[in-house]
């Protein structure tokens, strides 16, 4: 049910923007991009830092596993 609601919600958002018409007028080339940056920049930063913490968390665990592997495999290599 949750995913259905999510689909409906994102669909409505998309419909909202779907009506975009071609723009041929030349204005300040970056205005659209400048406005959107404030909106998406924060989200991008949050997800990036979230990802960094997530990968740090992962490396803590994988490092532990690797260390156990290494001590087990070292004698065999030499």
């Amino acid at each position: 049910m949750g995913s259905f609601l999510y689909s409906v919600a994102s669909f409505s958002i998309v419909i909202l923007f779907y009506s975009s018409q071609p723009v041929y007028a030349y204005i300040d080339p970056g205005t659209g991009s400048i406005i959107i940056q404030s909106v998406i920049g924060g989200i991008a930063a949050a997800t990036t830092f979230g990802a960094i913490y997530w990968s740090k968390l992962k490396t803590i665990f994988t490092r532990k596993n690797k260390e156990t592997d290494k001590t087990g495999g070292d004698s065999g290599d030499k």
Partner: protein
């Protein structure tokens, strides 16, 4: 003594221009650009990027003879010359992707060092072999607190959108990019993307919403639009977040349908027999040993197998040309995995890149660019002579005009490839024969050696052009 001539394409930036003088490449830094340049030098960023192979090296010129040629320059830099300049509309998908990632890597490193990039044009990146390198030393400026990413829109139009065109819709960017030169606008791509593509937050954030907002702004009175100075600005963490998000996204983009599997199960083109390959190899080796070329063009390079042979035989650098995207991607894979100085790029030989841009001087066309010492045109001429109805003498004239030495392979009508090309159409090529081929070569060149390599009548010709 001749004066330095400007390289057309470098005129947009008031901070400086690029010149060629006595075969050497110089960049001036004007009074306008000097302040920023001095500050950037102090950050050590340029040195780090050069050390990491991401920025074209430079030296600051002290020689008074050279400085006297550039009166208005505050600084004059000298760069090593890049043997072949290529443009984004000639790059395959993976090349454009590499260039995009390099731009973002440079921008992220810059931000960490307190430096931002003033633009995001794909023309600031060139390739040396399969490796991208950033070439504009005046794109860097000191980062000011809460500044926006001014190049965001340009980045999307020149890198992201052409990549999305192929990744989401399966259409290669080359023809459109060549026509538009500044890339694919958010508005245009937005109109093409389907509903399912627009479900993606990233597509919304970087393509659809900016296009939508741009439209909104264009329909309002410009006096109502807040000028940059009055805007709140962007925290540095958000700026970096945008760059990193795009980097992670683009790193995962692949052509729609995927080409990875093609490399895995790839065997050489089945029209080539083992023995034929062997004989061609010997012939190419002999040719390269005789000519000792620095720069070689491989027309119709396919997967780059013969480029590799030319390089192994002593050629310094090969630019491979093909119109088949899959072939280009295979050749790039070969160049990267075997560390070859081979750059495979897109060329429709019947419609080469023209001189274009501002006053048709900004981006040089195919003919006015490289000066190859030798050319390989193997299994190539029939694509023009039969495939595109271009008279054989014209094809030969064009090939021999590109380089003074070369190998051209003649493909006879009895060859399975031509039989298949003619299977659906009338044979209107009454004058297409080995005899007319030889006659055409002899009009422009001497035949040093020839060798029949298949029973179906493929013959290699080593030519040396008259003057």
């Amino acid at each position: 003594m001749s004066a330095p001539s400007t390289i057309d394409g470098s005129f947009r930036d008031p901070s400086g221009r690029v010149y060629i003088y006595k075969g050497r490449i110089f960049r001036t830094v004007t009074e306008f650009g000097a302040n920023a340049f001095e500050k950037i030098l102090k950050t050590g960023l340029l040195a780090t990027l050069i050390e990491d192979g991401q920025l074209l090296p430079y030296s600051i010129v002290r020689d008074p003879d050279i400085l006297s040629q550039f009166h208005n320059a505050k600084y004059v830099l000298e760069h090593p010359k890049i043997d072949y300049i290529s443009f984004p509309y000639e790059w395959s998908f993976p090349l454009l992707k590499k260039a995009a990632l390099l731009h973002l890597d440079v921008a992220i490193k810059g931000l960490n060092a307190g430096v931002s990039l003033s633009d995001a044009t794909a023309y600031n990146i060139q390739f040396v072999g399969p490796k991208p390198i950033f070439i504009d030393h005046l794109s860097f400026k000191p980062y000011t607190d809460r500044e926006y990413w001014l190049g965001h829109r340009q980045f999307c139009e020149q890198f992201l959108n052409p990549l999305l065109l192929r990744a989401k819709l399966g259409v290669a960017h080359n023809a459109w990019y060549r026509g538009a030169l500044e890339g694919i606008s958010n508005e245009d791509l937005s109109s093409l993307l389907r509903l399912r593509h627009k479900m993606s937050l990233k597509v919304q954030a970087h393509v659809v919403l900016p296009a939508r907002l741009q439209k909104k702004v264009s329909s309002t009175n410009s006096a109502e639009t807040k000028p940059m100075a009055e805007r709140k600005g962007l925290p540095k963490s958000s700026y970096k977040g945008l760059l990193t998000q795009l980097r992670n996204w683009i790193a995962k983009l692949e052509p729609k349908g995927g080409n990875q599997s093609v490399w895995g199960g790839y065997a050489e083109q089945n029209t080539y027999e083992e023995k034929e390959n062997f004989e061609k190899t010997i012939f190419i080796q002999k040719f390269v040993n005789g000519v000792q070329p620095n720069l070689v063009y491989d027309l119709g390079c396919n997967s780059g197998a013969f480029s590799e042979i030319a390089l192994a035989a002593g050629a310094k650098q090969v630019i491979g040309f093909d119109f088949d995207q899959i072939a280009l991607e295979k050749a790039l894979h070969r160049a990267e995995s075997k560390s070859l100085n081979l750059l495979p790029i897109y060329l429709d030989a019947s419609n080469q890149s023209p001189d274009q841009g501002w006053q048709q001087l900004e981006r040089a066309g195919f003919d006015g660019r490289g000066k190859p010492d030798a050319i390989l045109a193997l299994a190539f001429e029939h694509h023009l002579a039969i495939g595109k109805n271009i008279p054989l003498p014209q094809v030969i004239k064009w090939i021999t005009s590109i380089a003074a030495n070369g190998i051209i392979e003649f493909v006879a009508k009895s060859d399975p490839t031509i039989i298949s090309m003619l299977s659906m159409r009338d044979d209107i090529f009454q004058n297409y024969s080995q005899e007319s081929f030889e006659k055409a070569i002899l009009q422009h060149a001497t035949i040093i050696e020839s060798k029949k390599v298949t029973k179906d009548g493929r013959v290699l010709y080593w030519y040396k052009r008259h003057k």
